[in-house]
């Protein structure tokens, strides 16, 4: 059964514009559409009426690039669990629904236009320490020289599946980035290759995170629930203890 919907969408011309919510109607939306395909329909409609289409970030449309964002009906990536907005399907909604669509909100994620925000603060945190300092010449030891306990390898992998979308920040009432940073710190802290510079890494990344203006974690757990990849809160605990250890060391 196709649906007719009312959309309340945040429109903002550019970073310095004040911005406001605007109402739109879309009709004949198939439940098999993804949320972004529904927005494509709206945009096609706007273009045909010589109005400006709604700007939103998207790229892979299969839930892995982390480009799509959107705060839909009060939740990052909308009401479904373990999905990004591009994987959210219209079958989650009913005919006649009103859907509120806003950009991810955080001081560290300023709005660029409409629903697009600037998440370069995440990149800068990674520049500060989100790596292992080895050159890429390939002149290293054989990959099987250091066996890694499967449990640690799996836990590191799970932390590494973060797509950097920023849903954690958007959902957190404090706009804290600790799940994002905790995931990266954890991935490397769990692997022997990453342990070598674990101390500097956590101190530098947390310092950069604080400078970017993210809030403090108060352990509400909203980030974990809204994370499309189900990154665990354990990663924050691990980062906390890594950070405290590192602070005591030096």
């Amino acid at each position: 059964m196709n649906m007719n919907l009312t959309l309340k969408i945040w429109r903002q011309k550019n970073a310095s514009d004040k911005g406001k919510m605007v109402d739109y109607k879309v009709t004949d939306i198939s439940p098999d559409m993804s949320f972004l395909e529904m927005l494509d329909v709206l945009n096609e409609q706007l273009i045909n009426k010589d109005e400006e289409p709604v700007a939103f970030d998207h790229d892979c449309r299969e839930g892995i690039c982390g480009m799509c964002s959107l705060y839909i009906n009060g939740e990052a990536h909308g009401p479904d669990r373990a999905v990004t907005t591009c994987q959210l399907h219209m079958r989650m909604f009913k005919d006649g629904d009103t859907i509120t669509i806003e950009p991810f909100r955080a001081t560290a994620f300023p709005v660029v236009k409409d629903l697009i925000v600037d998440r370069s603060s995440f990149d800068r945190i990674q520049h500060a320490g989100g790596f292992i300092s080895v050159n890429t010449s390939g002149n290293t030891i054989d990959a099987n020289t250091i066996p890694i306990n499967k449990h640690d390898a799996d836990t590191a992998f799970e932390a590494a599946t973060c797509i950097g979308c920023g849903a954690c920040v958007a959902s957190c009432k404090n706009s804290s980035a600790m799940l994002f940073v905790g995931a990266k710190v954890s991935q490397f802290a769990l692997l022997p290759q990453g342990k070598v510079e674990a101390t500097d890494r956590v101190l530098n990344m947390v310092k950069q995170m604080d400078e970017e203006g993210f809030g403090n974690c108060t352990n509400t757990g909203a980030c974990e629930v809204e994370c499309p990849k189900g990154i665990s809160l354990e990663n924050i605990a691990r980062m906390n203890s890594e950070y405290l250890k590192a602070s005591l060391k030096g």
Binding site: N14, S30, D32, M33, S34, L36, E37, D40, V41, E44, I47, N48, P53, A55, D57, D59, C60, R61, E62, G63, I64, C65, M67, D80, V83, Q87, H89, R91, V112, D118, R119, S120, F122, D123, Q126, F131, I132, V134, N135, T136, S137, G138, A143, N144, P147, I148, N149, K150, A153, D154, A156, F157, A160, T161, I163, G164, F188, L191, Q193, G194
Partner: protein, 670 residues
């Protein structure tokens, strides 16, 4: 200009080593005076940027996404090949080389492929050192899986997110260099032209996608790692932003475009559900390790399944047609992608498609679930005959291996693949063709390099699974850093390239002219309107199966569509702001030219090879009846097209392929 592939002399196994021993190097102090531009930050571009920066060059890297981490390499699922022979199953550099050349249907360059196989093992070492969390066995060592078209297990993986993990590895190496100031990163920048000065590539023109600002960037060499052009089909597994623009602008500036018709149609994608579809989603080839592909044997069952009166799992074994196992007993469900895709099309064209559109086949995990369930029950000392228990245990194993893919499927299709077979259909996935490069990965424009999927070099007419990641990283980490040094050694006294020269000015003017046209043209159709039309022509006439009539029609239809586009396209907004429609317009304009060349190339190649299947080139009898028929006598060459204005005027140059280390044979997977 005659094509010179610059393949080093000597036996194939020594070529790369000898080459490295004899190239000119740039001393570290001089590297500081040399700038390199890298466009695209996927596996190839990202790894190249990191490595060149480590070596000491000043790197400027560009991507259209908001962060280098989002390049579409991230979506690669299944794995990365490497001739490590950790499993002791007979793998070797030669065998990987052989499999890749054979898999590519003998249309790739031997020397390049051998080098790829040679450096492959090193990629795994490198990535592990960078903290890439590959899957491991209980003993703590790396695990492998099998992929299509080979008889060994050489694929390293990280669940269904191998591309993501490898890309994040390259991204982290880039981050280290960005932090040190050795890479200057330009996010949300799109390259709109290459600038040539005195015949050499010396810079690019970009548009800042946020502000619309047109910028000039100069360097001593320009590297394109901008990915494939699968989006010429509109619907593909590529990201929405994936485009041919950078490669096409290079083509227009003199870089030959090779084998555009070699396109990989991936057999296991989620079928199209309706007209609203904006992209297609791949289900990793690794699923064919455990899933069996089938359609019903009898038309009445097809109809019952379509009508919903028969559940697929209720159909008796003997009423199912496991057509891959039937046709290719040696490789079964693990035949190469092109073969699997055509086989699915053959069944669906014959009316056996199992969904409403008639374009879907089943990928069934029931027998794998049972097998794993029994194994686990046995190991745990539980009752192997308890069907419910076995199913539960088996589902857990499958969940462990492919959990994220199953979840993805369920979210899109709204069906539970643990309890009903998946429905899949082929979709455009990868383009083997691309910018022509020599052994050094340099295009026909001096100083302009092309790496990764954007070039044509290593996969011939068909790419084997888990080889794209291998090629991207090999090019970026281990090949380009050597070959580009050889070229740049001549530039140590050149000094910074000024951007106020006439060449830069002209290029910028041209870019502005096109952009101004788009925002002022008062057309009546959106960019997508044209893109979708182009996609339909491509899919119907230049898709999985091609013939002279269709290709000839496609060429004239695309030409007409292009003319219409330039008259009737409508782009709202202005240039001086974030304007996605404007960015899309430029990309589709280039697709509309590429599409025609693509069809022209397909028309020229009167043989079937790999992803290029011509209905007039099939085996007529014998065991291989109906299979693709290659023509080595007349077509063992690379088609490299030179730009001359209109695609129809493009001039064909042939690079003859010589096979000294591998015997040319019919590619049989029977």
């Amino acid at each position: 200009m005659a094509l010179d592939s610059k393949i080093p002399k000597g036996p194939i196994k020594d070529k790369w080593t000898d080459y490295k021993n004899h190239i000119d190097l740039v001393n570290p102090a001089n590297k500081r005076n040399i700038d390199v531009i890298i466009v695209g930050t996927g596996l190839a571009g990202g790894s190249a940027a990191a490595t060149l920066a480590e070596l000491g060059y000043n790197v400027k890297a560009f991507c259209f996404q908001d962060s280098p981490r989002r390049a579409h390499s991230i979506a690669a699922q299944g794995g990365i090949n490497a001739a490590k022979n950790y499993q002791g199953d007979g793998d070797s550099t030669y065998r990987l080389f052989y499999d890749t050349v054979k898999g590519g249907d003998y249309r790739s360059r031997e020397a390049n492929v051998y080098r790829l196989a040679e450096v492959s093992a090193n990629i795994i070492d490198q990535c592990v050192a960078q903290g890439v969390p590959f899957a491991r066995e209980y003993g703590g060592l790396l695990d492998n899986r099998s992929f299509g078209g080979v008889l060994v297990s050489r694929t390293f993986y990280a669940a269904g997110q191998t591309g993501q993990q490898l890309l994040l590895g390259a991204y982290s190496a880039m981050n280290r260099q960005i932090g040190r100031g050795k890479i200057k990163m330009y996010n949300r920048h799109e390259m709109l032209d290459v600038v040539k000065v005195d015949g050499k590539a010396r810079g690019i023109i970009t548009r800042n996608l946020i502000t619309g600002e047109i910028e000039r960037h100069s360097a001593h060499a320009v590297v394109l790692g901008t990915g494939g052009y699968g989006n010429v089909f509109f619907l593909s597994t590529n990201a929405m932003g994936s485009n041919v623009t950078a490669a096409w602008k290079a083509h227009k500036r003199g870089a030959y475009f090779a084998n555009p018709c070699y396109t990989q149609i991936h057999p296991t994608c989620i079928p199209v559900s309706g007209d609203h579809q904006s992209k297609l989603t791949l289900m990793s080839e690794s699923l064919r390790n455990d899933g069996r592909i089938w359609v019903p044997k009898h038309m009445k069952d097809v109809e019952a399944i379509k009508a919903g009166t028969l559940k697929p799992r209720e159909l008796a074994e003997e009423d199912r047609d496991y057509y891959l196992e039937r046709r290719y007993p040696a490789f079964g469900n693990l035949v190469p992608r092109d073969v699997a895709s055509r086989a699915a099309k053959e069944r669906c064209d014959a009316g056996f498609g199992v969904n409403a559109t008639g374009e879907a086949v089943f990928l069934d995990f029931a027998s794998a679930i049972e097998r794993y369930g029994k194994e686990t029950a046995h190991v745990k000392g539980l009752n192997e005959n308890d069907a419910a228990l076995v199913k539960k245990l088996g589902q857990e194993v499958i969940k462990n291996k492919y959990g994220n893919l199953f979840q993805m499927y369920e979210k899109i299709v709204d069906q539970d693949p643990y309890n009903t077979p998946m429905m899949i259909y082929p979709a455009v996935h990868y383009t083997m063709g691309g910018v022509w490069v020599d052994y050094n990965l340099m295009t026909t424009v001096p100083g302009l390099y092309c790496i990764g999927e954007a070039n044509f070099s290593d996969h011939g007419a068909n790419r084997l699974g888990a080889s794209a990641l291998m090629q991207g990283l090999a090019d970026g980490y281990f090949v380009l850093p050597y070959t580009i040094g050889d070229y740049l050694s001549n530039d140590i006294r050149t000094g910074a390239i000024p951007t106020d020269s006439k060449e830069f000015e002209d290029a910028e003017k041209e870019v502005r002219k096109t952009l101004d046209f788009f925002v002022t043209n008062k057309g009546q159709h959106s960019v997508d309107y044209f893109h979708k039309k182009l996609g339909k022509i491509m899919w119907n006439k230049v898709g999985m199966s091609r013939n002279v009539k269709g290709l000839t029609e496609a060429i004239s239809e695309i030409k007409e569509l292009r003319a219409q586009f330039w008259k009737e396209v409508k782009v709202p907004g202005t240039n001086e702001e974030y304007n996605e429609e404007l960015a899309k317009a430029g990309r589709v304009a280039d697709f509309l030219e590429l599409g025609e060349l693509f069809a022209k190339d397909a028309l020229n190649r009167e043989e079937s090879c790999g992803g290029h299947f011509r209905e007039d080139a099939v085996e007529l009898d014998g065991e291989q009846k109906g299979e693709a028929k290659r023509d080595d006598e007349n077509f063992a060459y690379v088609s490299a097209w030179e730009y001359k204005g209109e695609p129809s005027d493009a001039v064909l140059h042939k690079e003859n392929l010589e096979f000294k280390d591998i015997e040319l044979k019919q590619r049989s997977y029977k």
